[in-house]
């Protein structure tokens, strides 16, 4: 669950950040970095990885359902955060990273 | 694109309505210095209302004057497609279920189950197709032919023992 959630959040963040409109809000000082050009590829790769991570779950049916449910939850955090308080989705990145690592280790 | 084309293209509203209420505006815009009649043709190419008149700038005035949304032709178009997309879609789905239930090579209860599942996929597909087909009569014809074929298959197969 943690691995999938982390991957999914990072993928959504990357996909949102690649849009001109959202980039200043989400990336602030990181905007000029070279990796910005690869955000779209990174975003979709992470998205695919989050789906692949479902294979690691014990119960595949539950895994798919949980992924379907996580999508609006994480997307909603990103969307509402960007509209009202951009610091929250930015803070989500390290948290998602931690979840990812924790998920890999556990 | 020639200068001024953007203005001509911006005349197209997002729902296909044309803001050039008077074709004279179009002609006047085309005659402004620096703007070629090429810009005129681009508008005619993209504008859903005037697209039929690409080689007939004079006919543009007729097209602009005719109200497209409320003519009886338009209403009939929509009505026929709706018929195909509602009753037609359901009918095709129902006949799909019946035909598959009788022909799928598995135990009777399993064939019935799978057939019903597939029918639910067929219904919205037919509805969408009814509105994307080239014309309303094509939509109805397509639905009718599918119905006949499926009905025939189901009838020939007969009820499983």
């Amino acid at each position: 669950m943690m691995l999938t959630a982390g991957l999914l959040y990072l993928s959504l963040f990357a996909l949102a950040a690649r849009m001109q409109r959202h980039r200043p809000l989400l990336l602030t000082t990181w905007q000029k970095r070279p990796f910005v050009a690869h955000l779209e590829l990174a975003g979709w790769t992470l998205f695919g990885l989050s789906l692949l991570s479902l294979c690691l779950w014990q119960d595949s049916g539950m895994a798919l359902v949980a992924w379907i449910g996580l999508l609006p939850l994480l997307g909603g955090i990103l969307l509402l955060g960007m509209t009202y308080r951009p610091a929250i989705p930015r803070a989500g990145v390290p948290i998602a990273g931690l979840l990812l690592v924790a998920g890999l280790l556990v | 694109m020639p200068r001024g084309t953007a203005t001509l293209l911006s005349g197209c509203g997002e729902d296909g309505g044309c803001s050039f209420a008077n074709a004279i505006d179009l002609h006047r815009a085309a005659r402004l210095p620096g703007r070629s009649t090429h810009g005129n043709r681009l508008h005619a190419r993209f504008c859903p209302i005037h697209s039929g008149h690409i080689l007939d700038p004079g006919g543009l005035s007729k097209a602009a004057a005719r109200p497209v949304r409320s003519g009886w032709r338009y209403r009939a178009n929509v009505a026929l497609r709706t018929l195909a997309g509602t009753v037609g879609a359901y009918g095709v789905a129902a006949l799909t279920a019946a035909a598959l239930a009788r022909t799928l090579p598995m135990a009777r209860v399993e064939a019935v189950t799978i057939a019903t599942l597939i029918a639910y996929l067929v219904a919205p597909a037919v509805t969408i197709w009814a509105f994307l087909a080239r014309g309303p009569w094509r939509a109805l014809a397509g639905v009718g032919i599918a119905a006949l074929l499926l009905g025939g298959v189901g009838w020939i197969a007969g009820q499983p023992a």
């Binding site: 996909l15 379907i68 | 296909g16 497209v68 209860v109 080239r134």
Partner: protein
């Protein structure tokens, strides 16, 4: 004809957008009711517990069913069948439907004594029934629900096709900009939980398949539908009543044996046909929480002797597929977090439907003064979109206020719900929307507070506390909404005019 058909085809997105708008509009209010009731039904047993706060006893399923059957044996006459649902971790009563002396009863039976609970109420079952029957007689309610669901499927697919910049717009939300904001919100709600919406609509249609797409069944089985049902659940045996009386054998050992057959999964539903007759049959089903799959097994016993008649565990792939799809909709399998995710998805779908209805009006109002039809629709939106929740919360308030000993108490609660919704609808139609929106939303907010405070707020039962917390949160959110609406009313509404170059 080519000009107009070209318009419809070449403007494929426009055609899809047109179709999306109309399918959404036609049964939008019905879909709103179904989505809201369905979302609440995710927590059906919890709501039932909130509505029966007196029931404090806990019991394991076997003892509870035992108590229930003992009570039913002593207190019913001439029953054709008792349909019992055992308590599980979430529900703490035996939900029983039975007939006695010709009349049908639906009661919650106490898990310890087996007697009907003091507070006669439908509980969460009200929302569940409303969701797929819309409080209309059989089969019309279910047919209407099926029709609405089919239109919903078309609306979702056309919405996807019509959305021009699907991935670009995906995280865009610009508040306080009139139509643009409503469209952003409607898109976000629809797209962010799109896999959920598609899944829930498709699976929902399937649950009513025997009613709305029976043609596969009739083609395969003709008139002999009983054969279909026995093929579908071979472990459920039917026997005609013989007329000879015989007491029901002790049910405890039967249930224990059933649990062994289910590989340890607890007993879920127990159906007792022809109780008190030698032709009695007891069919037991397991709980559905073990995995995603409705009815994965069943076992039938001879009611008078307790011997096994037939046992079955479902292995056939086609049937398992159907059961999994069914189970995905029912969500019984879902543990707590997943259940909240279902709730979130359902709430987003409900809000997507509601925002679509509002968007229809807002979009047209920004272009030109509303036509008479749209003005009616705007008022219908106020009355319907707020009136339906008002009816639902009134149901909860009635549950707290109606006297316990009242006859037909459960039906009275439902009447209160329907009349309140009706009154709110009329109010919405009568008042100008400028007044109607804040008034009705404020009323809803007050009703939520009332429902939360009318009973022990701080109870030991987590579900009671959570229920009250949800009501209070809703009340606060609505209150804020009304306050913002009143404050913003003085600000001019944004207007979009077509730019016509000179």
């Amino acid at each position: 004809m080519s000009g107009t058909s070209a318009m419809i085809r070449d403007g494929a997105r426009q055609a899809m957008a047109w179709l999306h708008g109309w399918t959404g509009l036609l049964l939008g209010h019905i879909l709103f009711i179904m989505c809201l009731a369905g979302t609440l039904s995710v927590f059906r047993p919890e709501i039932s517990r909130w509505m029966r706060p007196e029931v404090s006893g806990q019991s394991d399923p076997i003892r509870a069913i035992n108590a229930a059957t003992n009570w039913l044996s002593a207190n019913t006459t001439g029953s054709a069948g008792w349909y019992l649902a055992a308590p599980d971790g979430r529900s703490n009563v035996v939900e029983a439907t039975y007939d006695s002396g010709g009349a049908y009863f639906s009661r919650a039976l106490d898990p310890l004594s087996g007697a009907p609970v003091a507070r006669d109420t439908l509980g969460g079952e009200f929302f569940y029934r409303l969701h797929f029957e819309l409080e209309l007689p059989y089969p019309w309610g279910r047919l209407l629900a099926s029709l609405a669901a089919m239109l919903m499927l078309v609306a979702i697919i056309t919405g996807i096709i019509a959305h021009k910049r699907f991935f670009k717009d995906i995280f865009t939300f610009r508040p306080a900009k009139g139509q643009r904001s409503w469209l952003d919100g409607h898109n976000a709600l629809g797209v962010l939980s799109l896999p959920f919406h598609i899944m829930i609509t498709f699976t929902g249609l399937l649950t009513l398949a025997s009613l709305n797409m029976p043609w596969g069944m009739t083609a395969g089985y003709g008139e002999n539908l009983m054969a279909l049902y026995s093929d579908l659940t071979p472990g459920a045996v039917t026997k005609a009543p013989t007329g000879t009386k015989a007491p029901l054998a002790p049910i405890g050992p039967m249930l224990a044996q059933a649990q062994r057959h289910f590989a340890g999964a607890p007993v879920g539903r127990v159906y007792i046909f022809n109780p008190g007759d030698t032709g009695a049959v007891v069919t037991v089903y397991p709980v559905e929480t073990a995995s995603i799959g409705y009815l994965p097994a069943e076992i039938s016993f001879d009611g008078a002797t307790g011997t096994v008649l037939k046992a079955w565990t479902e292995q056939r792939p086609a049937i398992r597929t159907y059961q999994t799809i069914y189970g995905l909709h029912m969500a019984h399998f879902a543990p707590l977090l997943t259940r909240w995710l279902y709730f979130l998805g359902g709430a987003m779908l409900t809000l997507a439907v509601a925002s679509g209805m509002v968007l229809w009006i807002v979009k047209r109002r920004e272009r030109a003064p509303l036509s008479i039809g749209n003005r009616m629709l705007e008022r219908l939106n106020v009355g319907g979109l707020v009136g339906v929740p008002i009816g639902m919360v009134a149901f909860l308030v009635a549950n707290r206020l109606l006297p316990l000993g009242m006859t037909a108490r459960a039906e009275a609660e439902v009447s209160v719900a329907l009349w309140s919704a009706g009154a709110a609808l009329l109010l919405g139609l009568a008042l100008t929307p400028k007044l109607g929106w804040p008034l009705l939303l404020g009323l809803l907010s007050l009703l939520c507070v009332l429902a939360a405070f009318l009973a022990p707020i701080w109870a030991s039962d987590v579900m009671l506390v959570t229920g009250n917390a949800m009501l209070m949160a809703t009340a606060v959110a609505l209150g804020l909404l009304v306050w913002k609406h009143i404050r913003r009313r003085s600000a001019p509404t944004p207007v979009r005019r077509r730019v016509v170059p000179a």
